[in-house]
């Protein structure tokens, strides 16, 4: 037996993954256990969890693979500061403060942390994989392809910000790279900052805001900020950015170019200007990604594409690459961000370092991304009782029936089943679910349950066998990473009065007969649900379809704004009691809000720092 522990951390989204003899056993993000969103600290809880899932100790681990190379990152920092000196002194002193205290000695740090788990841990077991290689490995090795082009895009790792690799059998080689400070991810993050959202978590919001605006600034971005070459490679004009050596993403020249200062989220509302900015950067991102993938398809004539890196979570762009039809198959790592690097690093050791063969099947090896902890019915009941919850436990088919009935009555339901998802998306294991046909559900869910911005869209979980009847998509999208339009037959056209409305005022217009999951531009971020991957969730949607003829549900993550997705039954109960969720279904236990002890309610809205 060869056991490999993959670790990501000390940046953001720390995580641990366990691979035994090439099989992915478990993977989880530290934030789920520590309850700190994007927790960057050493993933103690996650490491302990993945080891316990396999019933082994750290002493049984043969290799520990870290997902990036600290010295190489430090080299980038030094060279960047030297190149810009004497500019950036403040940023330099802050960065060095962090690096010379801790990060430069990351191998020692990791060694010390691992010794807290196993006193005799051998430092020689520690291996380091390059950041983008970890991403590429996380995209290629679990994919169902024998051969693929592997494209990774993110903010920055060590030097690379974009890489192209070729995977064949167990071989994976990076053949092209774009280096810092030229980064599509950082360009998107710069606009995230400029529109008043948090860098590294607000990118989804910018993407969700884009359909409300017009891409009026697209040409300015293409003319002034980014020089896109014919093959899709690009360079950013550093005159407008401040991230290389400053403490903000953009500078004054950037603000002058667009005519406004960065939005201050605490005092300024989102205006049509910000929607147009969002639409413009989204359009530019799509253009670059489409151009890049078109060229890769032509250059290599390989029909399969794998994607990873934070930019691969831009499901609108992914949907357009799919629609372009240049690749027969596209597979995207569900934990495309840095958490997935833990898994990639572990798989890289198994296949690349140890040269073990790789066998592919028709499906990927991610097991639906259900790689986290699960709880037995007895554990669930014990936890709920300890929390003071009032529940009834019913047989599984009754639980499905009760849930589906409640959904038809427009109830909002906390759905907690099986193993927790790995990656940023809830995929029907830790989800809040509701009826997508409701006209008021999007607004209500956003404001009363999730405590988040009203414009943010919700995604449908749709039966795989019915997806093409409702959406312009006939492919697997199990990880909610492709956006496609609602079929014309289900759309509702806007009246002239509705068309005259502006920006967020359009929010209340029903665009289809599944309005809660149809964005303003008829698009939807789709999760296809397969019977073999998540049998219970499939059974629930099938039952709902039986009652309503509608083969889908709203699926949003089981948390509130700023809170990591719930991990344990206790987390789920607290979130249930702190929000307007009507019903909680954990395993076969069912809880109704009106039956609960009101004294257990807590002010959940202000519990977590807003993201």
């Amino acid at each position: 037996m060869t056991a490999i522990l993959g670790i990501s951390g000390y940046y953001h989204d720390s995580a641990a993954a366990l691979v035994i003899d090439g099989k992915i056993i478990a993977a989880a993000q530290e934030e789920r256990f520590s309850r700190k969103k994007h927790d960057p600290s050493f993933p103690h809880h996650a490491v302990n969890y993945v080891l316990s899932e396999a019933g082994i100790l750290l002493a049984d681990i043969d290799y520990v693979a870290f997902y990036d190379k600290p010295f190489l990152k430090f080299e980038r920092l030094l060279e960047t500061y030297v190149a810009h000196a004497p500019k950036g002194l403040r940023s330099f002193s802050m960065a060095m403060s962090v690096w010379l205290r801790e990060k430069l000695f990351q191998k020692d740090l990791l060694h010390q942390e691992l010794k807290k788990i196993d006193k005799k841990f051998n430092r020689e077991k520690l291996l380091f994989s390059e950041h983008h290689f970890s991403h590429a490995a996380s995209a290629y090795y679990p994919s169902p392809f024998d051969e693929a082009i592997v494209l990774t895009l993110d903010g920055v790792g060590e030097w690379a910000t974009t890489t192209v690799g070729i995977g064949k059998g167990n071989k994976l080689d990076i053949i092209k790279e774009i280096h810092f400070p030229h980064s599509l991810g950082l360009l998107y993050s710069a606009f995230t900052y400029y529109t008043g959202f948090k860098v590294n978590s607000g990118e989804y919001k910018l993407m969700g805001l884009a359909p409300y605006g017009e891409p009026k600034y697209k040409n300015i971005i293409l003319d002034q900020l980014i020089d896109v070459k014919a093959d899709g490679s690009y360079r950013l004009n550093q005159k407008y950015f401040n991230y290389a050596t400053g403490l903000t993403m953009t500078n004054k020249k950037f603000s002058q170019l667009f005519g406004q200062n960065p939005r201050k989220p605490e005092s300024e509302n989102i205006t049509p200007f910000h929607m147009d900015i969002a639409a413009s950067i989204q359009a530019v991102t799509e253009e670059v990604m489409l151009l890049m993938t078109q060229n890769l398809a032509q250059e290599f004539s390989i029909p399969n594409l794998c994607l990873a890196g934070g930019v691969a979570l831009n499901c609108v762009a992914n949907g357009k690459i799919l629609k372009q039809g240049l690749f027969k198959n596209i597979w995207i790592q569900p934990a495309a961000g840095d958490a997935g690097g833990a898994l990639g690093a572990a798989l890289a050791v198994w296949h690349k370092e140890l040269d073990n063969p790789r066998q592919t099947t028709q499906t990927d090896t991610m097991q639906g991304a259900y790689l986290g902890p699960q709880y037995s019915q007895a554990q669930i009941e014990q936890a709920l009782s300890a929390c003071g919850g009032i529940f009834e436990t019913v047989p599984e088919d009754k639980m499905i029936e009760l849930t589906a009935q409640a959904l038809t009555q427009e109830k909002t339901i906390g759905w907690f089943q099986g193993r927790m998802e790995f990656g940023p998306r809830a995929l029907g294991a830790r989800s809040i679910i509701a009826d997508p046909r409701s006209k008021t559900m999007q607004k209500n869910l956003n404001l009363k349950v999730k405590y988040r911005e009203s414009f943010r869209p919700f995604a449908p979980s749709v039966l795989r066998e019915d997806v093409d009847k409702w959406f312009e998509l006939d492919a697997d999208s199990p990880y909610m990473l492709f956006v496609a339009d609602v079929q014309p037959a289900h759309r509702i056209s806007m009246t002239p009065e509705e068309q005259a409305l502006f920006g967020i005022d359009k929010l209340n217009i029903s665009r289809s007969n599944i309005p809660a999951v149809t964005h303003i531009d008829y698009s939807a971020r789709i999760q296809t649900v397969d019977k073999n991957t998540n049998q219970k969730y499939h059974a629930l949607i099938t039952k709902f379809k039986e009652y309503t003829q509608c083969p889908m549900l709203i699926n949003t993550s089981f948390n509130v704004r700023g809170e990591p997705i719930v991990a344990t039954p206790e987390d789920a109960f607290r979130c249930f009691m702190g929000t307007d969720i009507d019903m909680l279904v954990i395993g076969n236990s069912v809880l109704y809000k009106h039956q609960q002890n009101k004294a257990l309610k807590e002010n959940y809205e202000e519990k977590y720092e807003l993201d």
């Binding site: 000390y10 953001h12 810092f180 860098v199 993403m249």
Partner: protein
Amino acid sequence: MSFLKELFTFVKARKKYWLLPVLIVMLLLGSLLVFSQGTAVAPLIYTIF
């Protein structure tokens, strides 16, 4: 010591010998800078971590 050895191996592998004097000065000045300050608080920017 293992840290210094690994750092030197890295510089050698990357053939970036010009970084060595920078690193030495940095480590000396940096130690002053670091130990004259309070806790190391990571600034909230994306690129330097």
